[in-house]
C-alpha cells in the first residue's frame, strides 16, 4: 500500500501562520489562513467583476467605431481602405475582423454585432440574407481570380499546370467549405475538360492533396514556408510581402473562376450611417483603385446581387 504522508506537507504549509511547537495555535493558524484566503477571494472577485464590466458587448460601444467583418482574402486591401476611411472621417475608428467567410457568416448568425459584412462568395452572403440579417441588399464590389503558387525553390519541380497531377506532389488547397476551396476544385474540374489535360486531372490532383486548410491564407503560409509543393490562392493574396517567396502560375481565363465579393450593411449595425459611408468608399474610384492595387478585378458598375 502506498504510504504517503500528506499531513506533513499540510503542516508545513501552515507554518507561516502557526507555531509548530505549540499545537493549540494551529487552529488559529488555519482560521487565519481561511479568512486570509477568503479576503483574497473577495478582492479577486471584486476586480474581476470590475474588469468584466469594461468588456462591453460590441453593440454597446460608442458610436465612434465601425465593425467590419471581411473575408480573409480582403485583408491587405481592407486594411488600407480602413486607413483611408479613418483619415476621411476623423474620430471614427474601424474595427476589422478577418476570417474565412464561412466562419464570419457563422459568427454573424450566432449574434455577432457587425456593421458591414464583406464575403468572398455570394453563398455565405445569401445565407445571412435568408436569416433576414441584412439591412439592405448585397452588392458585388470586386472580383478575384485564382492562381497556382509554388515556393520559390520549387521543390516539386512544377513548370506548368499539368505537373500538378504528377504523383508525389504535395498539394494544399483550402477546405471545400471555404469559398477559395470550392473555387479551386471548380478550376481543377474545368481544367480536366480542357485540351492538354486528361479527364482524370481533377482526381489525380486531389490524390496529391495533403491538407485542406481552413482558410486561404493558411494555404499561402504552407506554400510560403516551402512545406507544400503547390497551392491555389486568390491573385489578390500575392502581396509585395510574400511575392519574393513565391512563383505564380496563371490559370487560363476560360478555366478560371471569377469570384464575386459581395458587401452589405447589417441590421445589427450600431452605426448605419458610418456603414453606408464605408460602403460608398469601397465603390468610389479611390476605393476601387485600392482594390485594383491589391490585384482585385474591378466591377464595371455596382451590380445588384443577393436580395
Amino acid at each position: 500500500m502506498i504510504h504517503r504522508l500528506p499531513s506533513v506537507v499540510f503542516r508545513v504549509e501552515f507554518d507561516f501562520f502557526s507555531n509548530p511547537l505549540n499545537s493549540p495555535m494551529k487552529i488559529t493558524g488555519v482560521k487565519r489562513a481561511a479568512s486570509l484566503g477568503f479576503l483574497v477571494f473577495l478582492i479577486v472577485t471584486f476586480f474581476w467583476v470590475r474588469a468584466a464590466r469594461q468588456f462591453k458587448p460590441i453593440h454597446q460601444r460608442n458610436a465612434s467605431s465601425l465593425c467590419v467583418f471581411a473575408a480573409a482574402s480582403l485583408n491587405e486591401a481592407f486594411t488600407q481602405l480602413a486607413e483611408v476611411f479613418e483619415k476621411q472621417n476623423p474620430g471614427l475608428h474601424v474595427e476589422l475582423n478577418y476570417a474565412g467567410s464561412q466562419q464570419l457568416a457563422l459568427q454573424i448568425e450566432q449574434g455577432a454585432r457587425v456593421d458591414v459584412f464583406a464575403s468572398a462568395d455570394e453563398r455565405w452572403m445569401e445565407k445571412i440574407g435568408k436569416h433576414g440579417l441584412l439591412a439592405s441588399s448585397a452588392q458585388v464590389f470586386a472580383h478575384n481570380i485564382l492562381v497556382v503558387i509554388i515556393p520559390r525553390a520549387n521543390p516539386g519541380r512544377i513548370e506548368k499546370l499539368q505537373d500538378l497531377s504528377q504523383p508525389g506532389i504535395k498539394m494544399v488547397l483550402a477546405a471545400e467549405s471555404v469559398p477559395a476551396g470550392r473555387y479551386s476544385r471548380e478550376v481543377l474540374e474545368r481544367l480536366s475538360h480542357s485540351t492538354g489535360f486528361g479527364p482524370d486531372y481533377l482526381l489525380s490532383v486531389l490524390k496529391n492533396l495533403v491538407s485542406s486548410e481552413e482558410n486561404v491564407k493558411e494555404v499561402l503560409g504552407k506554400v510560403q514556408l516551402g512545406e507544400a509543393d503547390a497551392g491555389m490562392v486568390y491573385y489578390s493574396d500575392i502581396t509585395p510581402a510574400n511575392a519574393g517567396w513565391l512563383r505564380v502560375l496563371e490559370i487560363p481565363e476560360e478555366a478560371n473562376v471569377l469570384a464575386s465579393y459581395p458587401i452589405a450593411p447589417l441590421k445589427s449595425a450600431s452605426n448605419p450611417q458610418a456603414a453606408r459611408k464605408f460602403m460608398d468608399l469601397v465603390f468610389s474610384p479611390l476605393g476601387q483603385s485600392i482594390l485594383h492595387d491589391h490585384h482585385f478585378t474591378l466591377v464595371p458598375q455596382p451590380s445588384r446581387s443577393t436580395p
Binding site: M1, I2, H3, R4, L5, P6, S7, V9, F10, K26, I27, V30, K31, A34, S35, G37, F38, F41, G100, Q102, Q103, L106, A153, P155, K170, V172, A175, S177, V178, L209, V210, S211, S212, E213, E214, K222, L225, G226, E227, A228
Partner: protein, 276 residues
C-alpha cells in the same frame, strides 16, 4: 490512509472558524461548476441520441475518432517513455541548468498551440533546421500522421513530467536509504521502491497527458494540416464541421466528450484511486 483523514479533519465542519471557509468554498464551487459544467451540459442538450448514432457511423467521424484514439495513445506512450527519465533526473539531481531545463519543459503549457505548430514546422518542416536534413534522406514529416503524434507529444509532455516529478519527490528519502543500506542496485530500487511508491502519480500524469493529446488542435492543424484519414483528428473534424454545419459539429463534440469522459472516468476509478 488514516493519516490523510486526520490532516483534513482540520477542515471538518464543526471546527471553530469553519463557517466563513464553508461559505467561500461553496461560492467558489458553484461558480466553477457553472463555468465548467454549463457549456458541457449545453452541448449535451443540443443533440438527440439518435442523431449522435447517425453521426457516429459517418465514415469521416469514424476515421477521425480512430485516428484520434490511436495517435493520442501513441503520444501518451512516447511521453511516458521519454518523460520518465527526465522526471527522475529533475527530482533526484541538482545540476547546473536545471532551472532552464524545467522552464523549457514547461514552455509548451504556456505557448499558444499554433505557435507550437509553427515551431515544429520550422524545425521539422522540409526547409526546417532538422527537417532539411531529413528531407535530403527522403523523410518528410509535415502532413503525415507522424506529425500529428509529434504535435501531441510536444504539448502533452509537461503534464506527465511535472506530475511524475512531484510523485518522485514525495517519496520518503528513508525508503531509498533503506534500499541503499540493503544494497539494492539503482535499477532494482527504481522498480521495487520508486515505481511502486510513485505509481499513482505516474498513472495520473499519463492520464492527463493522454487527455491533452486527445484534445490537441492548434499545433496539429498548423504542423500536420487537415486531411481526413491521415491527419484529421476529432478536434479538427469538429472545427471543420463547425464551418458548415453547427449541428454535426455539436454531435461530434458530444462524441468526443463521451469518449474522453468514459476513458478518464475508468482511469480515475480503477487505476488512480482504486478503492476510493
Amino acid at each position: 490512509m488514516s493519516q490523510t483523514t486526520d490532516a483534513f479533519a482540520l477542515f471538518r465542519p464543526g471546527r471553530k472558524g469553519m463557517g466563513i471557509w464553508r461559505v467561500a468554498a461553496t461560492f467558489a464551487l458553484v461558480l466553477l461548476l457553472v463555468l465548467l459544467g454549463l457549456p458541457l451540459l449545453s452541448l449535451l442538450l443540443q443533440v438527440a441520441p439518435r442523431d449522435l448514432w447517425t453521426h457516429l457511423r459517418a465514415p469521416v467521424v469514424m476515421s477521425a475518432l480512430r485516428l484520434s484514439l490511436i495517435t493520442s495513445v501513441i503520444s501518451a506512450g512516447a511521453v511516458i517513455v521519454l518523460g520518465l527519465p527526465v522526471a527522475l533526473l529533475l527530482a533526484a539531481r541538482r545540476f547546473p541548468g536545471r532551472r532552464v531545463l524545467e522552464v523549457v519543459i514547461n514552455l509548451p503549457m504556456v505557448l499558444p498551440p499554433t505557435v507550437a505548430g509553427l515551431g515544429l514546422l520550422l524545425a521539422f518542416g522540409r526547409s526546417g533546421l532538422l527537417g532539411h536534413a531529413l528531407s535530403l534522406a527522403g523523410i518528410s514529416i509535415p502532413f503525415t500522421t507522424l506529425a500529428v503524434v509529434l504535435a501531441q507529444t510536444f504539448v502533452a509532455a509537461p503534464f506527465f513530467i511535472n506530475t511524475a516529478r512531484a510523485g518522485f519527490e514525495s517519496i520518503e528519502p528513508r525508503y531509498l536509504q533503506a534500499a541503499a543500506t540493503l544494497r539494492a542496485s539503482p535499477v532494482y530500487a527504481f522498480f521495487h521502491v520508486i515505481l511502486p511508491l510513485s505509481l499513482h502519480s505516474l498513472v495520473a500524469g499519463a492520464a492527463m497527458s493522454w487527455a491533452r493529446a486527445l484534445g490537441e488542435f492548434g499545433a496539429t492543424i498548423t504542423f500536420a494540416g487537415n486531411m481526413p484519414g491521415r491527419t484529421q483528428t476529432m478536434p479538427l473534424a469538429v472545427y471543420i464541421a463547425l464551418q458548415t454545419d453547427v449541428q454535426s459539429a455539436v454531435a461530434l463534440s458530444v462524441i468526443l466528450l463521451a469518449v474522453s469522459f468514459g476513458l478518464l472516468f475508468v482511469l480515475r476509478t480503477f487505476v488512480v484511486n482504486p478503492g476510493k
